[in-house]
Symmetry: C2
Subunit: 459 residues, 2 copies
Amino acid sequence: MSDAIAFARAHRGRFRQELDDFLRIPSVSARSEHNADLRRAAEWVRSSMTAAGLSARIFPTEGHPVVVGEWKQAAAGAPTILVYGHYDVQPPEPLELWDSPPFEPDIRDGRIYARGSADDKGQLFLHIKALEAHLATRGSLPVNVIVLAEGEEEVGSPNLAPFVQNHLDLLAADTVVISDSAMFAPGQPSLLFSLRGMAYFEIHATGPSTDLHSGGYGGAVANPANALARIVGDLHDAEGRIAIPGFYDDVAPPPPDILSRIRALPFDAEAWTLETGVPPVGGEDAYSPLERLWTRPTCDVNGFLSGYTGEGAKTVLPAKAVAKVSFRLVPNQTPERVRELTERHLERVAPPGISLELVELHGGRPWQARLEGPVFEAAARALERSFATRPVLTGEGGSIPIVVELEEMLGANSLLIGFALPGANMHAPNEWFAVDSFERGIDTLIHLYDELAAGTGNG
Amino acid sequence: MSDAIAFARAHRGRFRQELDDFLRIPSVSARSEHNADLRRAAEWVRSSMTAAGLSARIFPTEGHPVVVGEWKQAAAGAPTILVYGHYDVQPPEPLELWDSPPFEPDIRDGRIYARGSADDKGQLFLHIKALEAHLATRGSLPVNVIVLAEGEEEVGSPNLAPFVQNHLDLLAADTVVISDSAMFAPGQPSLLFSLRGMAYFEIHATGPSTDLHSGGYGGAVANPANALARIVGDLHDAEGRIAIPGFYDDVAPPPPDILSRIRALPFDAEAWTLETGVPPVGGEDAYSPLERLWTRPTCDVNGFLSGYTGEGAKTVLPAKAVAKVSFRLVPNQTPERVRELTERHLERVAPPGISLELVELHGGRPWQARLEGPVFEAAARALERSFATRPVLTGEGGSIPIVVELEEMLGANSLLIGFALPGANMHAPNEWFAVDSFERGIDTLIHLYDELAAGTGNG
């Protein structure tokens, strides 16, 4: 056992307390009332980086701040690794479905329950602790490291790309490493071959200038709630395909080797049903669940609000209706093209008496990994050392829109190595991160920095 | 001018202040937090009846109380009139759309703006004041009168029928008079030939056992919001007809004389568009707007709620979705039959992975007036005396479910004589009642009691 690993294990108790402090900050980026909490979380990250031995700074943006920590004193020729993570979290609602408060970390059954425990505070924290273990025991790192932590990932990273563009020298790196995803199964680590992209919209349907009595007006007024329900309902056809003309034109089938790897992976429909409460029957009939999750686009209603939704019966004809509708995208789709197609579709289907408006909330392109080369091999070895098994390759249905942009701006490839477990309730009530993932994750990342130095010829 | 009319005109200022006091009580029957306000409103009605010279009592029910005032000392052979009204009101939401607070009456442009000003506190109040004018000036009424005021009309009158059934002696009457509807146009009074019935449901769609991440699960989980949108959207076909099999089997066409009267009435599409902000394009293409409003059934979404509806983007797959959906019914539909058909339809269309539940909130049968006879004639003469024009016959798209039940239990016919004006925003923000309706309404009802005595041979 290396000295850094021994250090990490000896300090587990303190690490866990520090993570709890981090998770207690309700850094919900989507809600402006939490702006001060975001600043507090950024400050927490900065001082955590400093304590680990990095040189760290907070950079204000037009939105929430960016935190950058760096250590660039590795031997000449050593590669530079940029670790990307985010300290903001999803809104915790609906609160009544949490078994413990979302911002009071609670340990139950070997899991740390809290909003952000898996996505992504807990995983960002793993990196900082792995770096601390190296620096505390050896006084140096085997590679140059930059840690870039943003506070707007959950709202589409609107200010990160301009920030990176303005700080290309500071952030120049050979490889981007991101831990913001899940393993294939407990004990079975994985490396990602893809992320889906995203196009998130609100559709506003407006009818009468005010809410009307459904008796006095019903039958002679086009009801925006009925109309929007129909429009949203008709976004899929009977086979589960998205019914926007042209939507599939840009959808590329996955490469044959990826497809054969997906088909080789077990999919446990029973475990899925136990976990989610429903069988894996959504989406396109023509594809297996894993193919649908990793290689096919989606169109999901994330929210729908119209009229009177309180207790009892109110006989109102609503003046408007709003649906939050998001698409997950796969190569070679782009959010811009999906927006164009959706707008054109809405123009075609808008009924008389109803105005439709499409408002874009955020978007990001899908990502595909470079599957060969020393970085992938280094990560596989690091995972094998901690988990005693080779990682499998998996896709990820979620989106980290900034990955593609970081790659393009920095001219670097990305390695996505995640430690959450399936069913971690990222974006849902009762989000959790396994204590085992926490512990093996730190070990893995300690190994990873060594392996990256070794694997790229600079150990 | 009769002494009673002179009395009413002399006391207009006081009457208006009293009405303001009544309108200030937020008697929202749908919300349990207003229970004490309902009791306060009932007490207000009781003491107003007593002040008018009636003998009045409050009767508790399992829900909100019933108030009954009576004066039964008319000459032998005089008919007994039961006035029905309600002191409860619709919820005022959305509050931000009111130009003045809903429970602080505000006079603007000759209108009294307040929740309940038209529906139905203001119109119930007209009757109490007409009776006060008679009793204050003559010491007697030309007919026996019972005033029955309930506090649950806006939630479907669940406790009124049992109450009436248990008090048939107290409530025995020859004619039921109700002022809870609108005139055809300003200056053009009307008498109702029909009310639509109602069947009000919630449809609950349940999918996964908890909200899920739309990236991690999207494409392999049936989304209850998408599913419910489709189900609700498909409740109409492309021609605006309700697409529930069997729905139109019980729909009777209106009698030819009613149809010809409807077709003789002007419909001002421009005024409609100005008032509502939209052209009269909803509903079934095959019928004119007035036919659709008065003689055809509807299916309207009154509310729809699913997932995340706050600020910004939350990438959540909702665990459930709820739609409030209500049908307006016409002869010979019944809410029971519509419930059966809707349940059967939902069973047929429920997609895999989604559970549907239909919850009935309230219902009521449609009503048709008896158009001949002395009561109608008496009402027409009373209206002509106040408005200097004969009333037209109109339908009403709204529902007063208790009308049919009162008729059956009491063996009496109903006269629906309303004074609200089109566009009064009943059930919507900025509800109003015209000061002119208030003044002429009291005059009309003073005449009505005289005419009912005269017209039915007991003047």
